[in-house]
């Protein structure tokens, strides 16, 4: 069950990133160095492929092992700033207590919390620094806050949190990452990592909302 969710989530993320190529790519050209889309799609591709392989080989494997393998694969595939950060998310989530068992709502919520904390630990950024964390911290909070909601309502809330977090990066200075070098010139552009994370979160929410009983 968890393995299957992981697999569908990976594919949903992959498809969504690809569908948003122009938006993501353009943002990193504007306030970064133009590679973010290519880094993330490279990661999404190997993650989807690896999830398939793992799912086929051992459909009942403990999902924390799969998460760890995906994390390591992302680490050696993405590169740049997003590689270690996204990888850290998976490596940390794999260690969250219960991640090896069947994933219930509480476990997933804890995994996201731990994953986001790992990104913070690795990149030493905080909310408002104009990074992917501006999308991910509100997502983690929305998951905790919506503990009692039905899946569709929760998905909608999480999606809204991601969207709002992503939008919040638009009109602020960057204090971490490449965009920080631009000073004032970064204002008016959404952070590319915040955008790609929002796209991924939204895709996963839709997967969940469309019938998944988490």
């Amino acid at each position: 069950m968890s393995m299957d969710l992981l697999r569908r989530a990976a594919h949903a993320a992959h498809d969504a990133i690809r569908a948003n190529e122009d938006r993501i790519e353009g943002l990193d050209r504007a306030i970064g160095d133009g590679d973010h889309y290519h880094n993330v799609i490279r990661g999404a591709e190997v993650a989807a492929k690896l999830a398939d392989e793992l799912g086929d080989a051992a459909p009942d494997q403990a999902p924390d092992q799969a998460l760890k393998q995906i994390g390591m694969k992302l680490l050696s595939t993405i590169g740049g700033a997003s590689g270690p950060l996204m990888s850290s998310f998976f490596l940390a989530a794999a260690k969250t207590p219960g991640a090896g068992a069947v994933w219930d709502r509480a476990t997933v919520t804890a995994m996201v919390r731990d994953g986001v904390a790992a990104i913070q630990a690795r990149g030493k950024a905080k909310q408002g620094d104009k990074t992917m964390l501006d999308t991910l911290i509100p997502v983690a909070e929305a998951l905790e806050a919506g503990a009692g909601d039905d899946p569709a309502a929760l998905a909608a809330k999480v999606q809204a949190a991601a969207e709002a977090g992503m939008q919040s990066t638009k009109d602020i200075l960057a204090t971490k990452g490449r965009a920080a070098f631009l000073g004032e010139r970064a204002i008016g552009h959404i952070d590319p990592g915040a955008m790609s994370c929002c796209v991924i979160v939204t895709a996963i929410c839709q997967t969940v909302a469309s019938g998944e009983t988490l």
Partner: protein
């Protein structure tokens, strides 16, 4: 996009393979994971110098692998930090028992990937960061300054010290000394095109230039009207001197570095202009390097780097070096 390439996905592999064949007397190349290391590695009891970074800055870093500079280089995707598995594989090839010094340009991606590699590496290692770009004002953010062309100087000087047998801690300290003594700033007349993106990273008008640009085709701090070489040299020299505050008459290494699309004729002209700009501050370069050393794909433009030399640094700069891109005394 106009480039001498085949499939976009094969650019790095094919270019690296060509580099390996062209310099087979000096280096070995692995394509997966991508690493370039000295043919003679490991050198027993010598600290191994490993650098790396996104591709697109050639000859940095692979062109500086060889006697007197790096032991290995890890090229990432274009403008994308390499990954820890490359760094670990490189360390395994070149660690001669005296540990590894990671030479890292200060970008979030490079810092984090090298950090993870260092955490995972079972041997002894230390790292040194370059952050010589004075165009970036540090006050507004916590990212710190970018590492740019002074990285070449650091790799040369620390490489020579490693060759004479300095230990890991001394090399790290020397690296920090070189970095602290260095400042750089760049200007771009055109943007550049990341192969996978297929279009220029930024647009710049026919009468404009980007002042304070980095080495990733990222926009600079200011878009300004195209200026003369003299005006550019004065602005850049002024900004660097404000940062380095050398005493009048102090020995300085000057690196005039092309961004990839600017011909030598203009680089020597800019060097001439920079010399005049320096002279106004009662300074003159005691060591000089002019050429394409730390580039940004096919970008037209250049950067100036000054490094305050002491006697030891001067001697280490002059020491023999034999790499694909820098060679003397051997």
């Amino acid at each position: 996009m106009k480039k001498l390439i085949n499939a976009v996905g094969d650019v790095l592999t094919e270019s690296l393979r060509g580099f390996g064949t062209a310099h087979a007397d000096l280096v070995e190349v692995s394509l997966d994971p991508k690493i370039v290391w000295r043919r003679a590695a490991p050198t027993r009891d010598k600290v191994a110098l490993i650098s790396g970074g996104g591709s697109g800055h050639e000859p940095l870093h692979a062109g500086f692998v060889g006697h007197g500079m790096l032991d290995a280089a890890c090229p990432g995707e274009v403008f994308t930090s390499p990954t820890p598995d490359q760094m670990l594989a490189a360390a395994e090839k070149v660690d001669g028992g005296a540990g590894v010094l990671w030479i890292v340009k200060n970008y979030a991606g490079d810092v984090m990937n090298f950090e993870m590699a260092a955490e995972m590496y079972e041997g002894q290692s230390a790292s040194v960061l370059t952050n010589d770009d004075v165009a970036v004002e540090t006050s507004t953010h916590s990212q710190g300054r970018r590492g740019v062309a002074a990285t070449v100087i650091l790799e040369k000087i620390v490489g020579a010290a490693a060759e004479r047998g300095d230990d890991l801690a001394s090399l790290q300290a020397l690296g920090e000394r070189v970095n602290d003594a260095s400042g750089s700033m760049g200007v771009a007349l055109t943007s550049c095109t990341v192969p996978a993106a297929g279009k220029p990273t930024f647009d710049v008008g026919a009468d404009e230039m980007e002042m304070g640009v980095g080495i990733h085709g990222e926009p600079g701090r200011r878009r300004v009207p195209l200026a003369s070489a003299d005006a550019i040299a004065e602005e850049i020299v002024g900004a660097i001197l404000e940062d380095l505050k050398p005493e009048a008459g102090a020995p300085l290494l000057m690196l005039v570095n092309g961004m990839g699309g600017t011909p030598l004729m203009e680089l020597y002209l800019l060097f001439d202009a920079a010399g005049r700009a320096l002279a106004k501050h009662d300074l003159a370069p005691s060591r000089i390097l002019v050429g394409n050393h730390c580039t940004s794909l096919e970008m037209a433009g250049a950067s100036l780097t000054l490094c305050k030399l002491d006697e030891e640094m001067t001697a280490l700069w002059d020491a023999p070096v034999h790499t694909a891109a820098l060679r003397w005394g051997l």
